[in-house]
Each structure stands twice: as structure tokens, then as C-alpha cells.
């Protein structure tokens, strides 16, 4: 109940302070501006040098025709205009990659955010020992490097000695020597399971930390007033959690749209066409086939695709007042 006692204290302060003149307010805010820019300067310089400039070089590269010869000789690659873009946009393989990446992103983000939220809420409901066990299990999964996790799933789904086939066969299904990557739907199910499994700890633990920000007094008051758990969740918890939920969802979209490690490792560094995503496709074109300019063009298109998502997201953020 300290909160109630302390709250009225700051309130009289504005009345006690004499009204500031316009001049004083402006000089104060100008000084603040200077300090703020000074604090932001190192970040901005690093981003410009190591991200802005390479981005510019990448765009230039996408309008050229750079191959292995130019990389070694250092000669300026010949100008190619929009050839690389025409090549990509008229290629059905490229559009297949775009559709596959987008579909995977929608499915995997939906599954992992819902699971993360569900687990975060569940963690508030279970007893202390069980919560500890869930935390420890998730900590280990979170701590496990992506490549190691991918190797683990590659081993679990191994056609000859994998434990998954063994268990399914024991359950009466004929899965002995079943290869999970012949049928792309099954292969993508494995990749999605891996990504969701690996993504849950970050989401559940972040959201669970966010749930501790929900004032207990508010939930208690709602319960006393007869609200059921669903009403408390919808009307109190979720609105307070919304900004954090938006952040972790967008991060999940960014990460999953850029899927590389999981399909790369599960397919032994040589993903078949049906397992290519925009990230692996661009990388394969540039570093596997040495068509650097085509790879760059694909990357530029990827950035533009994500930019649409991000503009929508940023507008939402400003609209709901998360960024005030």
C-alpha cells in the first residue's frame, strides 16, 4: 500500500514551480537535444559505416554484373542496368522461393508466439517447482546454439538410426528407414518444429518477464469484482503486454523470414531447390555460383519486401503510442 501513499506527493510539484518563460524552456530543450544527439552519435556512426555504406554498395552491385573475375582483379564490374531484376522477377523459381519464405514465416511465427504466450501464462499458474523445471528446460534450449540445435534435429530425424523413426515405429506406424526430407511438406514440418522449439524460450521468458509488469493490484481488484480469468487476460494482461508482444512478434518475423541456418544445416549445406529460402538462395547465387550481382539483386528485393512489413509495423507502433 506504499504506492497509494507515495503517489500524491509529486502531484503538487507543478503548482509549486513558477511557470517557466518560453525562452527558458527553449534553451533547456536545445541543450537536451545536443546531449541526446551526442549520446546517439556513436551508434549512428557505426550503423552508417558498417551498414549504410555496404547497403549502398550492394545496391550499386545489383545494377552491375560482378562475377569471380572482377572480385579477384578488382576491376569495376560492367554496368548491367536492371538486367538482374528482370531475371529474378521473370523467374518462377525465384517466385517459388518468395512464396515459400513468406508461408514459412507466417506459420512459424504464429505457432511460436502463441506457444510462447501460452507457456508464459502457464508459468504463472504452476507451482514453484514446476516453474523452475520449465525454466531450466527452456534455458538449456535457449542456450543451445542454432547450429547445434539443427545438428540435433538432423540426428533425431536420421532415416536409419534416428530416434524419431524408432519411436513412431514402436507406436505401430511403419517409419523404419523413413526419410523426412523426400516429401517437402514433411521436411518443412521438421524445419518448422526446430524453429518453433528453438524460439519458444526467448518468447516465453520475455513475455513472462513482461507479465511481472502487470500490476498485481489490478488483477486482484478484477478478481474481487468477479472477473473470470479469461476476462482478466483479455482486458488487463494483454493490453499491458501488447507493446512487448508486438516487439517479440516483429523480431520473430524478422528472424524467421531470414531463415538460413536451419535449412542450411539440415540439408548439409546444399539445400535442394524446394528447401531454398530467400536468404539461402541469395547466398547460393553469390557464393556458390559466383553470380554476385544476381545475389545482390535478390537481397535488395528481400529488403524491399521486409520494408513493407516494417513500415506497417512502425506505423502501428507510433499509432498505439508504444513509441511516444
Amino acid at each position: 500500500m506504499h504506492a497509494v501513499d507515495s503517489r500524491p506527493a509529486p502531484a503538487p510539484a507543478p503548482q509549486a514551480t513558477p511557470p517557466k518563460t518560453a525562452k527558458r524552456v527553449r534553451s533547456r530543450s536545445q541543450r537536451d537535444s545536443g546531449v541526446a544527439w551526442l549520446l546517439s552519435l556513436p551508434t549512428l556512426l557505426i550503423l552508417i559505416a558498417m551498414l549504410g555504406y555496404p547497403l549502398y554498395r550492394m545496391i550499386v552491385l545489383s545494377f552491375q554484373n560482378m562475377r569471380l573475375r572482377e572480385l579477384f582483379s578488382g576491376a569495376t564490374p560492367p554496368w548491367a542496368g536492371v538486367d538482374q531484376y528482370t531475371k529474378a522477377l521473370t523467374d518462377s523459381v525465384f517466385w517459388g522461393v518468395v512464396g515459400r519464405t513468406a508461408g514459412f514465416t507466417v506459420v512459424s511465427v504464429t505457432l511460436s508466439v502463441l506457444a510462447g504466450l501460452g507457456i508464459a501464462l502457464l508459468m504463472r499458474r504452476v507451482t514453484r517447482g514446476v516453474r523452475m523445471f520449465m525454466m531450466i528446460a527452456m534455458m538449456f534450449v535457449w542456450a543451445l546454439p542454432q547450429l547445434v540445435a539443427a545438428q540435433a534435429f538432423r540426428w533425431l530425424t536420421d532415416s536409419d538410426f534416428g530416434v524419431l523413426n524408432y519411436v513412431l515405429t514402436q507406436l505401430g506406424l511403419d517409419y523404419s528407414t523413413h526419410s523426412w526430407f523426400v516429401n517437402p511438406w514433411e521436411g518443412w514440418a521438421v524445419i518448422t518444429a526446430l524453429v518453433v522449439w528453438a524460439g519458444i524460450p526467448f518468447l516465453a521468458i520475455s513475455l513472462s518477464a513482461g507479465l511481472t509488469q502487470v500490476p498485481k493490484e489490478l488483477l486482484e481488484a478484477a478478481t474481487v469484482d468477479g472477473a473470470n480469468p479469461w476476462q482478466s487476460l483479455r482486458n488487463i494482461t494483454l493490453p499491458i503486454l501488447k507493446p512487448l508482444l508486438m516487439i517479440v512478434t516483429t523480431l520473430s518475423v524478422i528472424w524467421n523470414f531470414g531463415l538460413f541456418t536451419q535449412n542450411w544445416a539440415l540439408r548439409d549445406g546444399h539445400p535442394e531447390p524446394v528447401y531454398q529460402t530467400l536468404a539461402t538462395y541469395s547466398y547460393t547465387q553469390a557464393f556458390g555460383r559466383s553470380i554476385y550481382s544476381y545475389g545482390s539483386a535478390i537481397s535488395v528485393i528481400t529488403v524491399l519486401l521486409m520494408f513493407g512489413v516494417m513500415v506497417f509495423y512502425i506505423r502501428q507502433m507510433f499509432k498505439i503510442g508504444e513509441v511516444d
Partner: protein, 285 residues
């Protein structure tokens, strides 16, 4: 009010409900941990047990041979040292630089603030691997390819937007009333920073650095593309090792465990600090 020692309200919660919640939690935990357990299980098995059509759910003939063969690799220790150096440099730099920007965004209102937020948000979109060709050319022109500093610089940029954005969230979570109250009591801006914002952002700094450590330690594609085999980190070593060995699962899982140990140990040591929000306590006094 009826509360457990951990502050969870007991009003209107049935024993049956708690039982089912606990059961669900335990099943969830077991499913989550199984792949991790299977890596451990495989690493301690002799080869004939690994390559068996009826997998054993614990090692019958416990052996350390897989670890010996992984550790015996020529570049293992150098790769581990490289990884530690690169990660420490990148995380420390991202934390210092990012915290300043986060402070500016969270606590100052100034012309250009929204533009900075926009940049920080937007750059997270850039598919980093796409920038590898121009980055390689740039680093080459200043003699920073095939060097640990070059890779650390790239990792710094990789971590920075996320660091700024996350720390901004943590700083925003500290009530402005605390700043204002302190300033009314005669604190300067600098004192507010050292006595209020920095201590209260502690858990946020820890959480962010843990995440940064994991990101940097786990990266293998950039370092693999920029550096020679002798200047790789442990993760890239694991990738090389995999290609050489094909499906020698035992040594592969042993190598994977050794590679994961720094991350797991570091992570578990500080896990208590991660989810602890200090702000609630501060307001309630």
C-alpha cells in the same frame, strides 16, 4: 490478502486446475529438453550403440572416446579462443554504445528522435548475409579480412540495433516519476543516470548482454566467409568438422556439447537476473 510467498494470488484457483497446469508444464518441459538430452546421450555412447536400429535411451557402455576425438582436432583450442575474443569485443562495444543511444531515445525528447528510432528499427530488417560481399570488399581495403577485429566489427553491427531497442524498452520501463522526484530533490541529470537509471537497468543490461553473447558465439556464416580456416570460431569449426566427418554422430555430438558449454554455463550462471524486474519494487518502496 491470500498470497503464496512468490506473490501468486490464490483466490479462485482450484487444486484440480493447479494439478493439470503442473502436468502440462512437466510434459512441456520434457518435450523441450528431450533433443538436448539426446545430444548428451549420443555423445557418451560408443559407436556401435550410436549406429543401432534400436536406440538405447541411456548409454549402456559409458565412454569418453567421442570427446577425445573431438578435442584432439588440431584447430579446436585456437577456434575456441578466437570465438571468446571476438564475442567479448563485440558484446562489450555493443553494450556501451547501445546504452547511450537507448538512453537518448528513452529519456530525451529531441528533434530527430523519431528518425533515430526509425533507423534502429529498420536496420534490423537488413538481411545481413546479403551485405557480405560489400563488407568483404570494405574490410579487405583496410586489411581487416582474416582478422578477429574485422569479424568483431561486423558482429558489433549485428548486435547493436537489437541492443539499443531492448535497452530502450528497459529504460522506458523505469517510471519517469523516479527521475523527476530525484531532480526535485536536487539530483543532476548525471546523478539520475548513475543512481537511478543504471542500477535499475541492471537486469536489462544482463539480459541484453546474454543475448548478444549468444548471437555472436553462434554466428558461423560470416566468419566462415571472411576468414581462413585458422581464424574461425568454434561454431564454424563444428561446421567444418561436420563436413569432414559426414555422419560420425558420436564425435559430432561431443563437439557440439563442448561448443555449447560456454554459452550454457554463462547463461545458467546469470539466469536469475534475467527475468527479475526491479522497477515494480522501486515504485512500491
Amino acid at each position: 490478502m491470500a498470497r503464496h510467498d512468490d506473490g501468486v494470488i490464490t483466490v479462485g484457483r482450484s487444486r484440480t486446475g493447479t494439478f493439470f497446469a503442473n502436468a502440462t508444464g512437466i510434459v512441456f518441459g520434457l518435450i523441450m529438453i528431450f533433443p538436448v538430452y539426446w545430444v548428451l546421450n549420443t555423445a557418451f555412447k560408443p559407436d556401435r550403440e550410436v549406429r543401432s536400429f534400436t536406440p538405447t535411451f541411456w548409454p549402456h557402455d559409458f565412454t569418453l572416446d567421442n570427446f577425445k576425438s573431438a578435442l584432439g582436432e588440431e584447430l579446436f583450442i585456437p577456434s575456441m579462443v578466437n570465438g571468446l575474443i571476438i564475442t567479448a569485443m563485440a558484446v562489450a562495444a555493443a553494450l556501451v554504445v547501445g546504452f547511450l543511444a537507448a538512453l537518448a531515445i528513452a529519456r530525451f525528447s529531441f528533434y530527430g528522435r523519431k528518425a533515430i528510432i526509425l533507423v534502429v528499427l529498420a536496420v534490423q530488417l537488413v538481411p545481413f548475409l546479403a551485405l557480405l560481399i560489400p563488407l568483404f570488399l570494405m574490410l579487405q581495403s583496410v586489411n581487416l579480412t582474416n582478422s578477429l577485429v574485422g569479424v568483431a566489427l561486423v558482429y558489433l553491427v549485428l548486435l547493436l540495433p537489437y541492443t539499443v531497442w531492448t535497452l530502450r524498452g528497459f529504460i522506458s520501463g523505469i517510471p519517469r516519476e523516479l527521475d523527476e522526484a530525484a531532480m526535485i530533490d536536487g539530483c543532476t541529470r548525471a546523478q539520475v543516470f548513475w543512481r537511478i537509471i543504471l542500477p535499475l537497468t541492471g537486469p536489462g543490461l544482463v539480459a541484453t548482454s546474454v543475448y548478444g553473447f549468444i548471437q555472436a558465439w553462434n554466428e558461423f556464416i560470416i566468419i566462415n566467409t571472411l576468414n581462413d580456416p585458422k581464424n574461425q570460431n568454434l561454431m564454424a569449426w563444428l561446421l567444418y568438422n561436420q563436413t569432414e566427418r559426414g555422419t560420425a554422430w558420436g564425435p559430432l555430438m561431443a563437439g557440439a556439447i563442448i561448443t555449447s558449454i560456454p554459452v550454457v554455463v554463462f547463461f545458467l550462471l546469470i539466469q536469475r537476473n534475467i527475468a527479475t524486474g526491479l522497477t515494480a519494487g522501486a515504485v512500491k518502496g
